[in-house]
Protein backbone atom coordinates (compact mmCIF):
# COMPACT_ATOMS: atom_id res chain seq x y z
CA UNK A 1 0.00 0.00 0.00
CA UNK A 2 1.18 3.50 -0.79
CA UNK A 3 0.52 6.47 1.44
CA UNK A 4 0.63 9.92 -0.10
CA UNK A 5 0.61 12.85 2.31
CA UNK A 6 -0.79 16.26 1.38
CA UNK A 7 -0.69 19.06 3.95
CA UNK A 8 -2.81 22.20 3.93
CA UNK A 9 -0.97 24.80 6.03
CA UNK A 10 -3.75 27.43 6.39
CA UNK A 11 -6.18 24.95 7.95
CA UNK A 12 -3.43 22.88 9.59
CA UNK A 13 -5.03 19.75 8.18
CA UNK A 14 -3.69 16.82 6.26
CA UNK A 15 -4.89 14.29 3.72
CA UNK A 16 -3.49 10.77 3.48
CA UNK A 17 -4.27 9.21 0.12
CA UNK A 18 -4.02 5.43 0.39
CA UNK A 19 -3.48 3.19 -2.59
CA UNK A 20 -3.61 -0.63 -2.60
CA UNK A 21 -4.64 -3.19 -0.06
CA UNK A 22 -4.88 -1.98 3.54
CA UNK A 23 -4.34 -5.02 5.76
CA UNK A 24 -2.45 -6.03 8.88
CA UNK A 25 0.85 -5.81 7.02
CA UNK A 26 0.30 -2.09 6.44
CA UNK A 27 -0.91 -0.88 9.81
CA UNK A 28 2.59 -0.16 11.19
CA UNK A 29 3.43 2.14 8.29
CA UNK A 30 0.04 3.81 8.53
CA UNK A 31 0.36 4.31 12.27
CA UNK A 32 3.84 5.80 11.96
CA UNK A 33 2.63 8.40 9.45
CA UNK A 34 -0.60 9.06 11.28
CA UNK A 35 0.89 9.42 14.75
CA UNK A 36 3.62 11.60 13.30
CA UNK A 37 0.97 14.05 12.16
CA UNK A 38 -0.79 13.97 15.51
CA UNK A 39 2.49 14.56 17.34
CA UNK A 40 3.00 17.59 15.12
CA UNK A 41 -0.34 18.97 16.28
CA UNK A 42 -2.33 18.05 13.17
CA UNK A 43 -5.63 16.58 14.32
CA UNK A 44 -7.80 17.12 11.26
CA UNK A 45 -6.89 14.28 8.96
CA UNK A 46 -8.72 13.04 5.89
CA UNK A 47 -8.02 9.51 4.72
CA UNK A 48 -8.69 8.99 1.01
CA UNK A 49 -9.83 5.44 0.25
CA UNK A 50 -10.75 5.71 -3.43
CA UNK A 51 -7.86 3.51 -4.50
CA UNK A 52 -8.17 0.94 -1.73
CA UNK A 53 -10.06 -2.18 -2.77
CA UNK A 54 -9.74 -4.15 0.44
CA UNK A 55 -9.58 -3.32 4.14
CA UNK A 56 -9.28 -6.09 6.70
CA UNK A 57 -10.39 -5.94 10.33
CA UNK A 58 -6.95 -4.93 11.54
CA UNK A 59 -6.97 -1.95 9.20
CA UNK A 60 -10.47 -1.00 10.33
CA UNK A 61 -9.34 -1.16 13.96
CA UNK A 62 -6.39 1.06 13.09
CA UNK A 63 -8.67 3.66 11.51
CA UNK A 64 -10.92 3.60 14.60
CA UNK A 65 -7.89 4.13 16.79
CA UNK A 66 -6.80 7.08 14.64
CA UNK A 67 -10.27 8.59 14.73
CA UNK A 68 -10.35 8.40 18.54
CA UNK A 69 -6.97 10.02 18.81
CA UNK A 70 -8.00 12.90 16.56
CA UNK A 71 -11.30 13.43 18.37
CA UNK A 72 -9.59 13.44 21.78
CA UNK A 73 -7.58 16.35 20.47
CA UNK A 74 -10.54 18.26 19.13
CA UNK A 75 -10.12 17.09 15.55
CA UNK A 76 -11.44 14.26 13.45
CA UNK A 77 -10.40 11.53 11.06
CA UNK A 78 -12.60 11.83 8.00
CA UNK A 79 -12.93 9.06 5.41
CA UNK A 80 -13.34 10.29 1.86
CA UNK A 81 -13.99 9.08 -1.70
CA UNK A 82 -14.69 5.49 -0.69
CA UNK A 83 -14.32 2.77 -3.29
CA UNK A 84 -17.35 0.49 -3.63
CA UNK A 85 -15.87 -2.45 -1.71
CA UNK A 86 -14.66 -0.18 1.09
CA UNK A 87 -18.12 1.39 1.37
CA UNK A 88 -19.73 -2.05 1.58
CA UNK A 89 -17.18 -3.28 4.13
CA UNK A 90 -17.87 -0.24 6.32
CA UNK A 91 -21.61 -0.82 6.04
CA UNK A 92 -21.45 -4.52 6.84
CA UNK A 93 -19.24 -3.89 9.87
CA UNK A 94 -21.57 -0.98 10.85
CA UNK A 95 -18.56 1.30 11.06
CA UNK A 96 -20.13 3.70 8.56
CA UNK A 97 -22.06 5.09 11.54
CA UNK A 98 -18.92 5.65 13.61
CA UNK A 99 -16.91 7.63 11.06
CA UNK A 100 -17.41 10.97 9.44
CA UNK A 101 -17.56 10.13 5.73
CA UNK A 102 -17.60 12.56 2.87
Amino acid sequence: MQIEHLHDAPSNSSTLMLNGRFDAHETDAFRATFDGLNDDGIHHITVGLGDVEFLDSTALAELVRGMKRCRENGGDLVLSSLSDPVRVILELTRLDAAFTIN
Binding site: H25, E53, F54, D56, S57, T58, P85, R87, I89, L92
Partner: protein, 285 residues
Protein backbone atom coordinates in the same frame (compact mmCIF):
# COMPACT_ATOMS: atom_id res chain seq x y z
CA UNK B 1 -16.94 6.93 -11.16
CA UNK B 2 -20.14 5.05 -11.92
CA UNK B 3 -22.11 3.53 -9.10
CA UNK B 4 -23.67 0.71 -11.11
CA UNK B 5 -21.59 -1.95 -9.31
CA UNK B 6 -22.89 -0.62 -6.01
CA UNK B 7 -26.48 -0.76 -7.30
CA UNK B 8 -25.87 -4.37 -8.36
CA UNK B 9 -24.62 -5.14 -4.89
CA UNK B 10 -27.64 -3.55 -3.20
CA UNK B 11 -29.98 -5.58 -5.39
CA UNK B 12 -28.05 -8.78 -4.63
CA UNK B 13 -27.97 -8.05 -0.90
CA UNK B 14 -31.70 -7.42 -0.60
CA UNK B 15 -33.50 -9.58 -3.19
CA UNK B 16 -33.38 -13.39 -3.31
CA UNK B 17 -32.60 -14.89 -6.71
CA UNK B 18 -35.52 -16.15 -8.74
CA UNK B 19 -33.29 -17.71 -11.39
CA UNK B 20 -30.52 -20.21 -10.96
CA UNK B 21 -27.19 -18.54 -10.21
CA UNK B 22 -24.46 -18.62 -12.83
CA UNK B 23 -21.71 -18.39 -10.22
CA UNK B 24 -21.35 -19.82 -6.73
CA UNK B 25 -18.62 -18.69 -4.35
CA UNK B 26 -18.01 -21.05 -1.43
CA UNK B 27 -16.14 -19.77 1.63
CA UNK B 28 -15.11 -22.32 4.28
CA UNK B 29 -15.09 -20.66 7.67
CA UNK B 30 -13.71 -21.92 10.94
CA UNK B 31 -13.60 -19.36 13.74
CA UNK B 32 -13.37 -16.47 11.32
CA UNK B 33 -15.13 -13.78 13.38
CA UNK B 34 -12.17 -11.46 12.91
CA UNK B 35 -11.80 -11.89 9.14
CA UNK B 36 -15.10 -12.95 7.62
CA UNK B 37 -17.12 -9.71 7.36
CA UNK B 38 -14.62 -7.65 5.33
CA UNK B 39 -14.08 -10.70 3.11
CA UNK B 40 -17.81 -11.05 2.50
CA UNK B 41 -17.99 -7.33 1.70
CA UNK B 42 -15.17 -7.47 -0.83
CA UNK B 43 -16.43 -10.65 -2.51
CA UNK B 44 -20.05 -9.49 -2.60
CA UNK B 45 -19.17 -6.13 -4.16
CA UNK B 46 -16.92 -7.58 -6.81
CA UNK B 47 -19.08 -10.56 -7.74
CA UNK B 48 -22.19 -8.38 -7.96
CA UNK B 49 -20.36 -5.98 -10.26
CA UNK B 50 -20.00 -8.77 -12.84
CA UNK B 51 -23.72 -8.43 -13.52
CA UNK B 52 -24.70 -12.12 -13.46
CA UNK B 53 -26.88 -13.88 -10.87
CA UNK B 54 -24.62 -15.42 -8.25
CA UNK B 55 -24.74 -16.86 -4.75
CA UNK B 56 -22.40 -17.00 -1.79
CA UNK B 57 -22.16 -20.08 0.38
CA UNK B 58 -20.54 -19.81 3.80
CA UNK B 59 -19.59 -23.29 4.96
CA UNK B 60 -19.11 -22.95 8.69
CA UNK B 61 -16.92 -25.66 10.16
CA UNK B 62 -18.18 -25.92 13.72
CA UNK B 63 -16.95 -22.47 14.68
CA UNK B 64 -16.95 -21.86 18.42
CA UNK B 65 -16.69 -18.09 18.09
CA UNK B 66 -19.35 -15.73 16.72
CA UNK B 67 -18.75 -16.46 13.01
CA UNK B 68 -22.23 -17.91 12.47
CA UNK B 69 -24.06 -15.14 14.32
CA UNK B 70 -22.11 -12.45 12.47
CA UNK B 71 -23.04 -13.91 9.09
CA UNK B 72 -26.68 -14.30 10.10
CA UNK B 73 -26.86 -10.69 11.27
CA UNK B 74 -25.79 -9.43 7.86
CA UNK B 75 -29.14 -10.69 6.51
CA UNK B 76 -27.84 -10.94 2.96
CA UNK B 77 -30.51 -12.35 0.66
CA UNK B 78 -28.27 -14.58 -1.45
CA UNK B 79 -26.01 -16.12 1.15
CA UNK B 80 -26.51 -19.78 2.05
CA UNK B 81 -25.09 -20.32 5.52
CA UNK B 82 -24.32 -23.99 6.19
CA UNK B 83 -23.80 -24.56 9.89
CA UNK B 84 -21.80 -27.55 11.10
CA UNK B 85 -22.25 -28.93 14.59
CA UNK B 86 -18.60 -29.90 14.83
CA UNK B 87 -15.25 -28.99 13.37
CA UNK B 88 -14.58 -31.43 10.57
CA UNK B 89 -11.61 -29.87 8.78
CA UNK B 90 -11.36 -27.57 5.78
CA UNK B 91 -11.94 -30.43 3.32
CA UNK B 92 -15.27 -31.30 4.91
CA UNK B 93 -16.40 -27.67 4.95
CA UNK B 94 -15.47 -27.08 1.32
CA UNK B 95 -17.19 -30.31 0.28
CA UNK B 96 -20.44 -29.36 2.01
CA UNK B 97 -20.37 -25.99 0.31
CA UNK B 98 -19.49 -27.29 -3.15
CA UNK B 99 -22.22 -29.95 -3.11
CA UNK B 100 -24.85 -27.32 -2.24
CA UNK B 101 -23.74 -24.91 -4.93
CA UNK B 102 -26.28 -24.19 -7.67
CA UNK B 103 -24.11 -22.21 -10.08
CA UNK B 104 -22.65 -23.31 -13.43
CA UNK B 105 -19.23 -22.21 -12.22
CA UNK B 106 -18.20 -22.79 -8.64
CA UNK B 107 -15.26 -21.18 -6.84
CA UNK B 108 -14.01 -21.85 -3.38
CA UNK B 109 -12.05 -19.08 -1.70
CA UNK B 110 -10.45 -18.78 1.73
CA UNK B 111 -12.00 -16.49 4.29
CA UNK B 112 -8.93 -14.29 4.53
CA UNK B 113 -8.98 -12.81 1.01
CA UNK B 114 -5.38 -14.00 0.64
CA UNK B 115 -6.19 -14.29 -3.06
CA UNK B 116 -8.21 -11.19 -3.88
CA UNK B 117 -11.58 -11.91 -5.50
CA UNK B 118 -10.62 -9.67 -8.42
CA UNK B 119 -8.78 -12.75 -9.77
CA UNK B 120 -12.12 -14.48 -10.41
CA UNK B 121 -12.30 -13.31 -14.01
CA UNK B 122 -8.83 -14.61 -14.89
CA UNK B 123 -9.75 -18.11 -13.68
CA UNK B 124 -13.12 -17.96 -15.36
CA UNK B 125 -11.62 -17.22 -18.75
CA UNK B 126 -9.80 -20.57 -18.53
CA UNK B 127 -13.09 -22.33 -17.73
CA UNK B 128 -14.53 -20.59 -20.80
CA UNK B 129 -11.63 -22.03 -22.80
CA UNK B 130 -12.79 -25.52 -21.85
CA UNK B 131 -10.96 -26.40 -18.66
CA UNK B 132 -12.92 -28.30 -16.00
CA UNK B 133 -10.76 -27.27 -13.05
CA UNK B 134 -8.74 -24.06 -12.73
CA UNK B 135 -6.53 -23.63 -9.70
CA UNK B 136 -5.10 -20.37 -8.51
CA UNK B 137 -1.36 -20.70 -8.32
CA UNK B 138 1.16 -18.82 -6.31
CA UNK B 139 3.98 -20.49 -8.21
CA UNK B 140 2.86 -20.11 -11.81
CA UNK B 141 4.65 -17.60 -13.99
CA UNK B 142 3.31 -14.14 -13.25
CA UNK B 143 1.99 -14.79 -9.76
CA UNK B 144 2.74 -12.18 -7.20
CA UNK B 145 3.33 -13.39 -3.69
CA UNK B 146 3.57 -10.78 -1.00
CA UNK B 147 4.77 -11.45 2.51
CA UNK B 148 5.45 -15.13 2.11
CA UNK B 149 8.12 -16.18 4.61
CA UNK B 150 11.28 -17.98 3.52
CA UNK B 151 10.39 -21.04 5.56
CA UNK B 152 7.02 -21.34 3.88
CA UNK B 153 8.64 -21.08 0.47
CA UNK B 154 11.06 -23.90 1.28
CA UNK B 155 8.17 -25.99 2.55
CA UNK B 156 5.97 -25.50 -0.43
CA UNK B 157 8.85 -26.18 -2.86
CA UNK B 158 9.62 -29.52 -1.18
CA UNK B 159 6.01 -30.60 -1.10
CA UNK B 160 5.41 -29.54 -4.68
CA UNK B 161 8.36 -31.56 -5.88
CA UNK B 162 6.93 -34.63 -4.19
CA UNK B 163 3.53 -34.06 -5.73
CA UNK B 164 4.99 -33.85 -9.20
CA UNK B 165 7.27 -36.84 -8.82
CA UNK B 166 5.09 -39.22 -6.85
CA UNK B 167 1.71 -38.24 -8.25
CA UNK B 168 2.62 -36.79 -11.61
CA UNK B 169 0.14 -33.99 -10.99
CA UNK B 170 1.39 -31.15 -13.14
CA UNK B 171 0.30 -28.47 -10.71
CA UNK B 172 2.95 -26.38 -9.01
CA UNK B 173 0.74 -25.09 -6.23
CA UNK B 174 -1.78 -27.62 -4.98
CA UNK B 175 -2.72 -25.79 -1.77
CA UNK B 176 -3.85 -22.34 -2.90
CA UNK B 177 -7.29 -21.68 -1.40
CA UNK B 178 -8.74 -20.33 -4.64
CA UNK B 179 -10.01 -23.00 -7.03
CA UNK B 180 -12.69 -22.95 -9.69
CA UNK B 181 -14.73 -25.80 -11.17
CA UNK B 182 -17.49 -26.38 -13.65
CA UNK B 183 -20.62 -27.55 -11.84
CA UNK B 184 -20.23 -31.01 -13.33
CA UNK B 185 -16.59 -31.35 -12.31
CA UNK B 186 -17.31 -30.01 -8.84
CA UNK B 187 -20.13 -32.47 -8.18
CA UNK B 188 -18.18 -35.43 -9.51
CA UNK B 189 -15.03 -34.61 -7.57
CA UNK B 190 -16.55 -33.60 -4.26
CA UNK B 191 -18.87 -36.58 -4.16
CA UNK B 192 -15.82 -38.82 -4.39
CA UNK B 193 -13.20 -37.09 -2.31
CA UNK B 194 -12.97 -38.30 1.27
CA UNK B 195 -10.15 -36.35 2.93
CA UNK B 196 -11.55 -33.88 5.44
CA UNK B 197 -8.34 -32.07 6.31
CA UNK B 198 -6.11 -29.65 4.47
CA UNK B 199 -4.84 -32.24 1.95
CA UNK B 200 -8.25 -32.48 0.29
CA UNK B 201 -6.91 -30.09 -2.37
CA UNK B 202 -4.37 -32.65 -3.41
CA UNK B 203 -6.96 -35.41 -3.45
CA UNK B 204 -9.26 -33.34 -5.65
CA UNK B 205 -6.45 -32.70 -8.15
CA UNK B 206 -5.49 -36.35 -8.08
CA UNK B 207 -9.08 -37.34 -8.83
CA UNK B 208 -9.38 -34.74 -11.59
CA UNK B 209 -6.36 -36.26 -13.29
CA UNK B 210 -7.59 -39.81 -12.76
CA UNK B 211 -10.99 -38.98 -14.25
CA UNK B 212 -9.45 -37.31 -17.27
CA UNK B 213 -10.58 -33.79 -16.46
CA UNK B 214 -8.74 -30.82 -17.93
CA UNK B 215 -6.92 -28.89 -15.22
CA UNK B 216 -5.24 -25.53 -15.61
CA UNK B 217 -3.18 -23.34 -13.33
CA UNK B 218 -3.74 -19.63 -13.25
CA UNK B 219 -1.21 -17.27 -11.67
CA UNK B 220 -2.77 -15.22 -8.89
CA UNK B 221 -1.81 -12.48 -6.54
CA UNK B 222 -1.51 -13.80 -3.04
CA UNK B 223 -1.12 -12.11 0.32
CA UNK B 224 0.13 -14.20 3.21
CA UNK B 225 -2.57 -13.17 5.60
CA UNK B 226 -1.65 -12.74 9.22
CA UNK B 227 -3.97 -14.59 11.56
CA UNK B 228 -3.62 -17.90 9.76
CA UNK B 229 -4.41 -20.73 12.13
CA UNK B 230 -2.22 -23.22 10.31
CA UNK B 231 0.99 -24.64 11.72
CA UNK B 232 3.15 -25.29 8.62
CA UNK B 233 5.11 -28.12 10.25
CA UNK B 234 2.00 -29.97 11.25
CA UNK B 235 0.52 -29.44 7.82
CA UNK B 236 3.63 -30.77 6.09
CA UNK B 237 3.56 -34.00 8.07
CA UNK B 238 -0.16 -34.41 7.54
CA UNK B 239 0.37 -33.76 3.85
CA UNK B 240 2.94 -36.53 3.55
CA UNK B 241 0.67 -38.96 5.35
CA UNK B 242 -2.16 -38.00 3.05
CA UNK B 243 -0.09 -38.62 -0.05
CA UNK B 244 0.09 -42.23 1.07
CA UNK B 245 -3.58 -42.29 2.03
CA UNK B 246 -4.69 -41.06 -1.40
CA UNK B 247 -2.61 -43.72 -3.10
CA UNK B 248 -4.00 -46.42 -0.83
CA UNK B 249 -7.60 -45.22 -1.28
CA UNK B 250 -7.18 -45.47 -5.01
CA UNK B 251 -5.60 -48.92 -4.91
CA UNK B 252 -8.46 -50.31 -2.84
CA UNK B 253 -11.02 -48.85 -5.26
CA UNK B 254 -12.46 -46.10 -3.09
CA UNK B 255 -12.47 -43.59 -5.92
CA UNK B 256 -14.43 -45.72 -8.37
CA UNK B 257 -17.73 -44.06 -7.48
CA UNK B 258 -19.32 -41.45 -5.24
CA UNK B 259 -18.70 -41.59 -1.50
CA UNK B 260 -21.10 -38.78 -0.61
CA UNK B 261 -24.67 -38.20 -1.65
CA UNK B 262 -25.59 -35.07 -3.51
CA UNK B 263 -27.79 -33.13 -1.06
CA UNK B 264 -30.97 -31.44 -2.23
CA UNK B 265 -30.24 -27.92 -3.42
CA UNK B 266 -31.93 -24.95 -1.83
CA UNK B 267 -35.04 -23.93 -3.76
CA UNK B 268 -35.06 -20.61 -5.59
CA UNK B 269 -37.33 -17.82 -4.40
CA UNK B 270 -40.69 -17.74 -6.16
CA UNK B 271 -41.11 -15.18 -8.94
CA UNK B 272 -43.10 -12.30 -7.52
CA UNK B 273 -46.74 -12.96 -8.47
CA UNK B 274 -49.05 -10.31 -9.92
CA UNK B 275 -50.68 -9.98 -6.54
CA UNK B 276 -47.49 -9.16 -4.63
CA UNK B 277 -46.25 -6.95 -7.46
CA UNK B 278 -49.20 -4.56 -7.46
CA UNK B 279 -49.52 -2.48 -4.36
CA UNK B 280 -52.39 -3.42 -2.11
CA UNK B 281 -55.33 -1.09 -2.16
CA UNK B 282 -55.48 1.21 0.83
CA UNK B 283 -57.95 0.02 3.43
CA UNK B 284 -60.60 2.45 4.63
CA UNK B 285 -60.02 4.05 8.00
Amino acid sequence: MTDIPLENYRQWASTPLTTRPIYSVVIPAYNEEWRIVPTIGAIATHMSSLGEPWEMIIADDGSTDSTVELVQELELANVQLLIAEQNGGKGSAVRRGMLRARGDIVLFADADQSTPIEQFTALKSLIDEGFDVVVGSRSAEGSDVANKSFLRQVFSRGLNLLVRVVFRIPVADTQCGFKMFTAEASETLFQRQVIDEFSFDLEVLYLAKKLGMKTAECPVEWFDAPGSKVDPFKVAIEFLQNLAVIRWNDVRGLYKSANHELPAKAPLAAEPTEKTKTSTAPTGS
